[in-house]
């Protein structure tokens, strides 16, 4: 039988993977609907960590309570970014907007990071972390961290709700219609700017929610965002552009692989393993695990 510590490694891997999946699903939604790659996605996540940090350390509320504030707050922030910066680009047509938006969202990323760096330097903080603990639970002779289990359950719950929203509601169907065949969706009268606004809000909220779970696992720095944006990109490509299950599968695969890399090789090998996995998957399935259209 495998040593018991594997249970811990697997749980960590699955939790990290589930968090990655949240990040990737949000980025994927936005990309699918407006063909815009939001390079500030990971920085919105970082901002979500910072808000959790403030809520925990200043207001004394638990990170899970912070979720209730963070979800609507970042929905609004994402919506504002969409209205003020993305919508004006759409006037130039989708293709040109897709290119210019890279510059614009990169700018948003810099602004967010610099504001946080500036603020935290003045307050004398270099890393953001919360020391939120709950008593462990014992299952079959193994002690498991209840914070991690609770996080895992919450993410599972959020993912199911999100999936139901996308498949069952009319708005969700419009979102899928726009990503599967934009022209046909427009011809049917889908109001793309409204749907794009809502998806941007939703994607940003998902990123910030992922931030709440990350800061419960580990302390973060203000510069963590871009790394996570790229990780989400790798996951989307791994799982297949525009595929919901692809993002979830890609996230879990990467999370588990990284967890074992950490155990056997050490943390510095994680980026290498990420690239090797991406390479192997794309060699055998060029459109990703659940990839559909070209």
């Amino acid at each position: 039988m495998l040593p018991l510590y594997h249970v811990d490694i697997v749980i960590n891997g699955v939790l990290m993977g589930a968090i990655y999946a949240l990040i990737a699903v949000g980025l994927n939604l936005i990309y699918g609907v407006s063909r815009i790659l939001n390079l500030a996605h990971g920085d919105l996540l970082m901002l979500g960590c910072v808000v959790t940090y403030l809520v925990y350390n200043i207001l004394g509320q638990t990170p899970l309570m912070a979720l209730l504030v963070i979800a609507p707050l970042f929905f609004l922030i994402g919506g504002l970014v969409n209205i003020s910066l993305i919508r004006p680009l759409m006037k130039f047509g989708l293709e040109r907007a897709a290119v210019t938006s890279v510059i614009v969202t990169l700018g948003v990323s810099f602004i967010i990071v610099d504001l946080v760096l500036f603020g935290s330097a003045r307050a004398g903080i270099s890393t953001f972390g919360v020391s939120y603990m709950l008593p462990s639970v014992k299952i079959f002779d193994i002690y498991l961290s209840s914070v991690r289990l609770l996080s895992l359950l919450s993410i599972l719950f959020i993912t199911i709700i999100l999936r139901l929203f996308i498949t069952r509601t009319f708005l969700g169907k419009k979102i899928r219609a726009l990503s599967q065949n934009r022209e046909a969706a427009l011809a049917l009268g889908v109001d793309d700017s409204k749907v794009s606004l809502i998806t941007f809000g939703l994607g940003s909220a998902l990123a910030a929610i992922a931030g709440v779970f990350i800061i419960m696992l580990t302390a973060i720095q203000a510069t963590i965002g871009m790394t996570l944006t790229f990780k989400a990109l790798v996951i989307i490509i791994l799982g297949g552009m525009g595929s919901f299950f692809g993002a979830v599968a890609g996230g879990l695969l990467l999370g588990l692989a990284e967890s074992y890399t950490m155990l056997y090789l050490g943390g510095m090998w994680i980026p290498v393993i990420d690239v090797i996995i991406l390479f192997i998957v794309l060699m055998s399935r060029p459109r990703g695990l659940f990839g559909k259209e070209a």
């Binding site: 219609a177 022209e183 046909a184 011809a187 009268g189 109001d191």
Partner: protein, 234 residues
């Protein structure tokens, strides 16, 4: 019902339509014919608000609709069935149809319209729960047309319905279009399949290199020298 006057449209800076005028009368089937690249699809897209109009005017039931947002134009009663069977491949047949009913008014009429669609195309009822991407070419085209009907349009614009389909299927599709027309829906049909189109339509326009070069009722066009030579190979 639909009147297009002196329409000029450019696509990516290249002029595609030159002073195009046409009229679709209530209750009729009008065909728009012409070779590849003549600007037929561009014309439909401009009417639908999917492309920006440079100059000229589009009127629908007496109201000017030039450059309105497509969602407004659908609400007013025009449906566009895009070329290449633009269905949503990873959604079920039923979901595709539901998305056809975008406006509040058509959402209220959804159940009745679904029934009408399934009567016209019984195969869609059978395939209701199947993903649209798994349908055959003919079935996808039926789905695209049915989806257009879900908006309860008064004018249905169909772009190249027969493209790449077997002749038997094409005959079925044109039959269905006739039935739809008999139910009071006016139809503007873009076609390269000239013979069939002239059979089903009351009136036709011929678009070449972005200009209307011929127009008239189909009976007289069938005998026209230019049509015979260039399109029917006689």
């Amino acid at each position: 019902m639909l009147r297009v006057s002196n329409l000029n449209v450019a696509y990516d800076g290249i002029r595609v339509l030159w002073d195009v005028s046409l009229e679709v009368e209530d209750g009729r089937i009008v065909a728009l014919l012409g070779p590849n690249g003549a600007g037929k699809t561009t014309l439909l897209k401009s009417i639908m608000g999917l492309l920006q109009i440079m100059s000229g005017r589009v009127e629908f039931e007496g109201k000017i609709i030039s450059n309105l947002h497509p969602s407004r134009i659908t609400e007013m009663g025009i449906s566009y069935v895009p070329e290449g069977r633009g269905v949503f491949p990873y959604m079920t047949v039923r979901e595709n149809l539901e998305l056809g009913a975008m406006s509040k008014r058509s959402r209220k009429l959804m159940q009745g319209n679904l029934r009408t669609c399934y009567e016209l195309f019984p195969i869609l009822k059978e395939r209701e729960k199947q993903l649209a991407g798994t349908l055959s070419g003919g079935e996808m085209q039926m789905l695209a047309i049915a989806r257009g009907l879900m908006a309860s349009p008064r004018l249905l614009m169909v772009d190249e319905a027969s493209l790449g389909l077997a002749p038997v299927i094409v005959i079925k599709l044109f039959d269905a279009l006739k039935k739809i027309n008999a139910r009071g829906v006016t139809i503007l049909l873009v076609e390269q399949n000239v013979l069939q189109a002239l059979d089903v339509a009351h009136k036709a326009y011929v678009l070449e290199s972005g200009k209307i070069v011929l127009e008239g009722d189909t009976a007289s066009l069938k005998g026209h020298e230019h049509i015979k030579k260039a399109y029917l190979g006689l």
